[in-house]
């Protein structure tokens, strides 16, 4: 996994609550057996005016010019400002894969759905939860100022606004450690292989009915 330390990027507002993972990446793109190439179909049903398919040449498709992602002022955005319950619905990791592949590194919202939130950290994306009022303020500021850029500093757990003011955010210590170092969870867990084996042995002894083969 790629590491995350400090990121400075243009913010893009997605002013809509309960953005679900079907919204982020529609199901027809989940037929892929790869984990890359989803960025061009991020927010597909809103970004384009027609229905996309996995083998379509996306450069020929009509764009929905009203959709925020297509507006000239937000080209190159890498910080996504979102509303409540972002990422609800399916567990598809294709959602963070699509966001990452498109170029988003930071998501800011008053709340995220649990599975999606967890999936972001596995892919080098930093989801940040801030108070609803503060997110409201950020929405207003982004809308008001073209080129609104935020600097997100993970070691310091801070977001610096264009006016230099700083917002503090919380992040789980373990997830922070993994993101900062780009660590592979599996490798870390396997350092505890002995503990897992010991647990498994006593559990098998106590509850042999869980160890009949599927």
């Amino acid at each position: 996994m790629k590491a995350f330390t400090v990121h400075t990027g243009l913010a893009m507002p997605l002013d809509r609550a309960n953005v679900d993972t079907d919204f982020i990446i529609p199901k027809q793109f989940l037929k892929s057996i790869k984990r890359s190439g989803f960025g061009i179909n991020l927010f597909d049903e809103h970004r384009y005016l027609d229905k996309g398919e996995p083998d379509t040449d996306n450069s020929q498709r009509p764009l929905n010019k009203d959709f925020v992602l297509n507006q000239p002022r937000y080209q190159g955005a890498s910080v996504l400002l979102a509303r409540e319950n972002f990422g609800c619905g399916s567990s598809r990791e294709h959602a963070p894969w699509a966001l990452d592949d498109f170029g988003f590194r930071v998501l800011i919202s008053p709340s995220f759905a649990d599975i999606f939130f967890n999936n972001c950290f596995k892919n080098g994306i930093l989801p940040i939860v801030l108070d609803k009022e503060l997110v409201d303020t950020l929405f207003k500021e982004v809308n008001a100022a073209e080129g609104y850029t935020l600097t997100v500093d993970l070691p310091a757990q801070s977001i610096t606004r264009p006016d230099g003011s700083v917002i503090h955010f919380e992040v789980d210590a373990f997830r922070k450690h993994c993101l900062l170092n780009g660590l592979d969870d599996i490798g870390l867990t396997l350092e505890d292989a002995e503990a897992i084996k010991a647990f498994e042995n006593q559990w098998r002894e106590k509850s042999p009915w869980y160890f009949t083969a599927a």
Partner: protein, 479 residues
């Protein structure tokens, strides 16, 4: 000191290691695998040269992406018309073979939707921890197992380590007191709950469902409720074990047999929340207040009783909620104040991991028996949850009842619930669906989904619009 919740007990019994930072390693007893969220995980194992920690803890079956027509299915993997889907289903078969994992393949009679197959095979047992790369894994909580959906990175993590890195959730109890009225089902209960607490109401919690109305449900009804815990934001739903649970498991092929079953059942009976257990939040509903539910919007919380009307955003005080309602009504092509019963339908879908089990099909068949699908309905389809459900339904003659009434009888799979295969809801069309999500585009690009119970979907198929199934049940019996 207060007692423990069922969730506390399941957590503690699977705790391998508590880390200083609040995360924990939790041992996983069972992983269910399907074709869509597993290929990248298997690829990860290959790239790192890792092997499954315990291959026999995994069970795979293709469901999301497979065709449901007999014509395509009868030709096996080569018969799958869509080449991209064919590769994905074949990849699952190849991966399972390479890594020594049991797969119930596409034309195995035991194949079906993972969340139907797990309990049906006895691969889901009380007291287990269960994961699957699918959010509706919460279904298995109905058997007193701690079960939740995970992403593909975690699928790989569980394959390689038999553990999941987790933080303990908070405890929520949702109690549904009293008795349900006739014609009101588990689906109506869970939709009413989501209407009450919202789609983020359960975020950060494990929800235990209790109370007389829940306890009186069959295992299949309980699965319907836990299935949709995720639509209330909770990764896991739970129901305490009782005799109904134990009776359901007895004799299932992958469940323990004989003396081992007796011993296990003794242990399973302890898998209940203690009377003095502490819940961080308790929500109480009265079963008598619940009437058949229909969603009108693009989120499961946008739900109303069948006797109700589509809401008016101008009456909503919270501006952000009012915006949500406006967006939803625009997408759904509905006007505020429209009676739910006046919503005209084009398509009916009976199936999905929420409602495709034998009792669901019986309930739908009871409504359509001797009647005909309305001429305005362009497609009405019934998709059983597994090959065994299909076989049972056919033994009872349900397939004949459906086809005589004008509904299509399909092969098992996820089908139009998420429309990854050819079963898609056309743009602008309204569908009465027994599935779990009414998100924009969920059942097909531009499609308009209304979530209902199987009996309500069947009644809607007959009338071409929503009707209160309780009225139909009062009509004289038919031949």
């Amino acid at each position: 000191m207060s007692g423990k919740t069922l969730y506390d007990k399941l957590w503690e019994s699977h705790l391998v290691k508590q880390r200083d930072d609040g995360t924990a390693l939790i041992y996983i007893d069972r992983q269910l695998i399907h074709e869509v969220t597993s290929p990248q995980a298997f690829e990860g194992l290959r790239l790192t040269g890792r092997k499954p920690w315990r291959a026999d803890a995994n069970l795979a079956t293709p469901d999301h992406n497979i065709p449901t027509t007999k014509a395509e299915r009868s030709r096996g993997l080569d018969g799958i018309v869509d080449p991209v889907s064919r590769i994905q289903v074949r990849t699952l078969a190849d991966n399972c073979r390479d890594f020594g994992i049991t797969e119930l393949d596409m034309n195995d009679i035991r194949q079906g939707i993972v969340h139907v197959v797990g309990p049906e095979q006895g691969a889901t047992l009380p007291g287990m921890t269960i994961v699957c790369g699918d959010s509706h894994t919460s279904t298995h909580g109905a058997l007193g197992a701690l079960a939740h959906g995970i992403g593909t990175s975690e699928v790989e993590h569980v394959m390689a380590t038999q553990c999941l890195i987790q933080k303990k959730m908070k405890n929520m109890l949702i109690r549904v007191d009293g008795k349900l009225n006739p014609g009101v089902t588990a689906k109506d209960i869970v939709l009413a709950i989501i209407g009450e607490i919202g789609t983020a109401g359960g975020t950060g919690y494990t929800i235990e469902f209790g109370g007389e109305a829940v306890r009186s449900l069959s295992m299949e009804g309980r699965m319907t409720i836990c299935n949709m815990a995720i639509e209330a934001g909770a990764r896991a739903g739970l129901i305490s074990v009782d005799q109904t649970t134990i009776d359901y498991i007895k004799g299932r092929p992958m469940a323990p047999q004989g003396e081992l079953f007796t011993k296990a059942a003794e242990f399973w009976k302890t898998l209940v929340s203690d009377a003095d257990a502490h819940f961080d939040r308790v929500v109480v509903l009265d079963a008598a207040d619940i009437i058949p539910q229909v969603t009108w919007g693009t989120s499961p919380e946008m739900v109303a009783p069948v006797t109700g009307v589509v809401p008016d955003p101008d009456q909503e005080k919270d501006p952000s909620r009012a915006d949500n309602i406006r967006q939803a009504l625009k997408y759904m092509g509905l006007k505020p104040g429209t009676a739910i019963k006046d919503i005209q339908l084009d398509v009916v879908f009976i199936g999905s991991c929420t409602n495709s089990r034998i009792e669901d099909l019986r309930a739908a068949a009871a409504v359509v028996k001797g009647r005909k699908v309305a001429s305005s309905i362009q497609l009405a389809m019934v998709v059983p949850g597994s090959g065994l459900v299909k076989q049972q339904a056919e033994a009872e003659g349900l397939d004949k009842i459906f086809t005589d009434a004008g509904l299509e009888w399909r092969e098992p799979g996820c089908s139009m619930c998420l429309a990854m295969n050819a079963d898609q809801l056309p743009a602008g069309k309204h569908c009465a669906s027994t599935s779990n999500r009414n998100f924009e585009g969920r059942q097909g690009f531009g499609g308009r989904t209304h979530l209902v119970s199987p009996a309500m979907a069947a009644a809607a198929a007959i009338h071409g619009h929503f009707v209160d199934v309780r009225d139909i049940l009062l009509e004289p019996a038919r031949a």
